[in-house]
Subunit: 197 residues, 2 copies
DNA sequence: CCCTTTATTGAATATATCTTCATTGAAATA
DNA sequence: TATTTCAATGAAGATATATTCAATAAAGGG
């Protein structure tokens, strides 16, 4: 392949990477196109040679995020706690192994609360909130089985998923942080020993 | 006191409240002065009658946040786990009782990563990051005592504080959410039963 | 009741930021 | 090598947003 074509891809990737980092640190509105160009070591004009607008660039990042972070959270016939454990382990592995995955995770969360965003992108982003809602019946099942502790199922779901979200955010902003163990977060849900009735 | 004076205070409070809600939902840069004025049911001009600039308004919010959220996290001579438990319970109580406290919590977190902010405010905000650093020796002490589980102390501190941060963020944006139990988060740190050596 | 002070408005202005464009130079192609 | 195509620049232009201001209405005080 030609030198040009390679460089084109590299440049594009560099812009996306720089923009992602800035967007999650400062937010969309406070990240100036000039900041992104500077971070990517290029002129403002060149940035617009690669992306039509700041908004398109942002949307491209979200699109990439949606592709990569396909949270299956598949309803296998495993026990509820096993499903949450697998999900947590997958996520922690992703977040701690791949710095840009952690950043994507944060971008997607922040994007949810943004007005000026095309409808189809907004729909894609609805997932995160659904995750909590979808977890509630699973938690209730786990409570009946005695593997998940008692308490309001929605509150438990919020505690579980938001803890992961909070940790992902910190790791995204401080990539050198030692990675927490997924099992620590599972202990939020886990019913310890005796089944009290 | 005169009607005017009362109304003045009310207006100011209303602006601050509206701005806080918008800032944490959309971020500083995407929150337009017009949005704030609209949310507070007043003209743009009047908003500037109460605050010199958008930035001053933001800084005022941070100043209020710093006053209210004086995280003592005092080093009493209680056991490490008891100190973390007390801190978590205090925070959860504050977050779940007082919606604007939860929002403040989020604002302060977001503000940290903002450039254009006076130096003295930046210093005030350094606290959150210090919280994790200050927790490390305490966690190590708890590990020696066997009340806190084994593992990298910094990673445990990150897991604990960031979980609280993540939950606070969700509650701030969804105030009707049932409040998680502080003890659920404590179980991130807690060493269950047998001391393995 | 008159005069002073303060609240209130929205259009006009200033400012900041995004986006375009004419131009230059480097790489591909023949 | 000549020619075409694309990368690259930064200043000019367009746009969006913050801020000011002159004018009006309401309240306070004598």
């Amino acid at each position: 392949m030609s030198i040009r074509h390679e460089q084109k891809e590299q440049r594009r990737a560099l812009i996306l990477q720089s923009a992602l980092d800035l967007f999650i640190r400062k937010g969309y509105g406070e990240t100036k196109v000039a900041d992104i160009a500077k971070a990517a070591n290029m002129s403002i004009g060149l940035l617009f040679h690669y992306f039509d607008s700041k908004e398109k660039l942002y949307e491209e990042l979200i699109r990439i995020g949606c592709e990569r972070l396909q949270m299956d959270f598949s309803f296998t016939n495993e026990s509820p706690l096993a499903i949450f454990t697998a999900a947590a382990e997958d996520l922690f592995d992703m977040i701690c192994t791949n710095p840009s995955a952690a950043k994507m995770f944060v971008l997607m969360e922040n994007a949810q609360h943004l007005d000026s965003l095309s409808e189809d992108l907004k729909e894609m982003l609805m997932e995160a909130d659904k995750l909590i809602k979808k977890s509630i019946p699973l938690i209730e099942k786990g409570q009946l089985l005695g593997e998940i502790k008692q308490g309001n199922a929605e509150a438990l779901a919020v505690a579980f998923w938001c803890s992961i979200q909070g940790i992902a955010q910190y790791i995204a902003l401080h990539p050198e942080t030692p990675c927490p163990n997924a099992m620590w977060i599972i202990s939020i849900l886990e019913n310890r020993e005796g089944i009290e009735k």
